[in-house]
């Protein structure tokens, strides 16, 4: 019983979105009536598309942050990875990814793989295309996270394969479990546990960020640290990025895009909660930044720019799951914890020999999981499942322990899924096409070895020389 009611709830948003699809595919939107319903429909389309544009633009943000955090000799490569994973991902999502994510549910596990193939037939419908576009830019966000973590050493060709596989399979399947009517959100078990709803993830702390960040963890472990990252004694040596200006620009672009990411996830412009979502989002980002700056200040004696940006991103990741369901003060708490997680995460991983160039594992992986937990804690029972109607989402602190358990189950499942598929994929790639360039190519830089260009052909460079010596 309950299962169906949730299922219906989840479909409600979709139905509002797709007024004409109940009959037949409507590729032109001719079914949009010139009446109140039609107008509200238009508002939804306008809002969702604008938000999707902003999320798309986050690709530029990632590209800038990552490019700025690598050395001059690897810049063009990082840019190309960021650009091509989106391009290839678009094709993969059109062919199969979206079907697995949002196609009609098959046993709670995945969507019907052929249902949206190339957006042919029934799926050639404005409402469905709206959702496809929105889901595409989300998928692309998740995929691009790995790029920065393993920068400065992977084979370009292998990275392309990775990005196609994740967009086509790994992301959509887990995404289906949460957003596509799959078991984590809609199975009887989970719905009973949560008290009317299963595991939730408003805009994707888990689906997008934790998944991407944990894949990055697997990737970093499989590929190993960069030449020069550690001394013989295993002491980490910092390898500063080449351009703080574009790191900061990228940070601002990501923050800008994140408003679309979170507030667009209502999939409706008629949900006034979008205003609140922006408030919690901006607070968590700001507080995350402040926290990380203070921690870096204490540790190194001066406030650090890179961690400031990381802290802000961590706060944003942390609020993403709960942005519509938590209060402003809770957003502050979430941001503080996120800032702490980012800093200690970065320092811990570095010590443990995991060489994550941009801090993606801490920012997206650890904080993504934290976001799911935080939602289970702080949901204040004022907003329902993507609707103002009940059942209202309520967390542990407001008395719903079951939902907190549901969220913890999600955390565990996600961690296992992400690391499992991640290790399988990256070991597989390592054993077959190879995952890492040769040491000579790495020393020379991937711009020359993989693309035979310089990112800044006229710039005279110097090496950042360290007193301690690294293992070659």
């Amino acid at each position: 019983m309950r299962r169906y009611s949730v299922f219906l709830l989840l479909l409600l948003g979709l139905l509002v979105l797709l007024p004409a699809t109940t009959m037949a595919a409507d590729p032109s939107g001719a079914g949009n009536p010139i009446d109140l319903e039609g107008a509200m429909n238009s508002i939804d389309y306008v809002w969702v598309l604008v938000c999707a544009f902003l999320v798309f633009f986050m690709q530029a943000g990632f590209a800038m942050v990552e490019a700025g955090m690598v050395r001059v000799k690897n810049v063009a490569n990082v840019l190309m990875k960021n650009f091509m994973d989106f391009a290839i991902g678009t094709i993969a999502f059109l062919v199969i990814g979206y079907s697995l994510l949002m196609g009609s549910d098959v046993g709670g596990m995945f969507g019907d793989p052929s249902s949206n193939f190339m957006l042919f037939g029934e799926s050639y419908d404005v409402g469905n295309m709206l959702l496809w576009f929105f889901m595409l830019v989300f998928a692309a966000t998740s995929v691009t996270i790995v790029s920065g973590a393993i920068a400065e050493r992977p084979k370009f060709k292998t990275y392309l394969i990775y990005s196609a596989v994740v967009t086509a399979l790994i992301y959509p399947i887990y995404g289906h479990w949460i957003w596509g009517g799959g078991w984590l959100a809609a199975s009887d078990l989970m719905v009973n546990l949560g008290g009317g709803y299963g595991a939730l993830d408003f805009a994707g702390s888990g689906v997008v960020h934790a998944l991407g960040g944990l894949l990055a963890l697997a990737a970093c472990i499989v590929i190993g640290p960069r030449i020069g990252k550690y001394t013989k004694e295993g002491k980490p040596l910092p390898i500063p990025g080449h351009n703080m200006t574009i790191v900061m620009l990228g940070g601002f672009i990501l923050w800008f895009g994140w408003f679309g990411f979170n507030a667009g996830s209502t999939l409706s412009g008629n949900q006034l909660i979008i205003a609140k979502i922006c408030v919690t989002t901006v607070i968590a980002g700001a507080v995350g930044a402040v926290t990380a700056v203070l921690l870096s200040w204490r540790r190194a004696g001066t406030p650090d720019l890179g961690l400031a940006v990381n802290g802000m991103l961590g706060g944003l990741v942390g609020i993403t799951a709960g942005c519509a369901w938590v209060e402003p003060w809770a957003a502050m708490v979430i941001g503080v914890v996120s800032g702490i997680i980012v800093c200690y995460g970065v320092w811990f991983l570095e010590k443990k020999g995991v060489d994550d160039v941009v801090g993606a594992i801490s920012v997206h992986g650890f904080n993504g999981l934290w976001g799911l937990i935080a939602l289970g804690l702080f949901a204040d029972g004022t907003f329902g499942v993507y609707t103002v109607d009940g059942p209202l989402v309520t967390g542990l602190l407001y008395g719903n322990a079951g939902f907190f358990v549901a969220q913890m189950i999600n955390v565990v499942v996600l961690a296992i899924y992400a690391l499992g598929t991640g290790f399988a994929l990256f070991y597989g790639l390592k054993k077959t096409v190879g995952i890492r360039v040769s040491p000579e190519e790495e020393l020379q830089g991937l711009d020359i070895s993989e693309h035979n260009v310089s990112a800044y052909p006229e710039m005279v460079t110097k090496d950042v020389a360290m007193t301690q010596e690294a293992v070659k």
């Binding site: 190194a300 650090d304 020389a465 360290m466």
Partner: protein
């Protein structure tokens, strides 16, 4: 003729240049280099991790002068570049056998 190669601090370049102008030494050229000396380096931080760098940016100045004014040139540079702290730099002098002015193909002292 002598080549006087001086390694000085970035912030002293202006003073050295003016001091040289005052004693009539106009021609010179300048590059940024990375240097290591008694001053063994400094610490920097990156994302909260502190590390030591052992090369610091310095300015390299090259002036070719007539042997007769080499000493005063060296003294002038030394005075202008002086702060008394570690890292003030070095001056190296060696013999230059020939100087040619490209514009006129003049050789020797008049070409300086």
């Amino acid at each position: 003729m002598k080549m006087i190669q001086a390694i000085v601090r970035h912030e002293k370049l202006g003073d050295v240049k003016s001091a040289l102008t005052e004693i009539g030494v106009v021609g010179l050229n300048v590059t940024e280099i990375q240097g290591r000396g008694v001053q063994k380096g400094q610490t920097r931080q990156w994302r909260g991790a502190v590390y030591d760098v052992d090369l610091l940016p310095k300015i390299k100045l090259e002036v070719v002068v007539d042997a007769g004014i080499a000493d005063i040139t060296v003294d002038t540079i030394q005075k202008a570049a002086f702060t008394g702290n570690i890292g003030d730099g070095k001056i190296f002098v060696w013999n230059v056998e020939e100087v040619i002015r490209v514009r006129t193909n003049e050789r020797g002292k008049t070409a300086i």
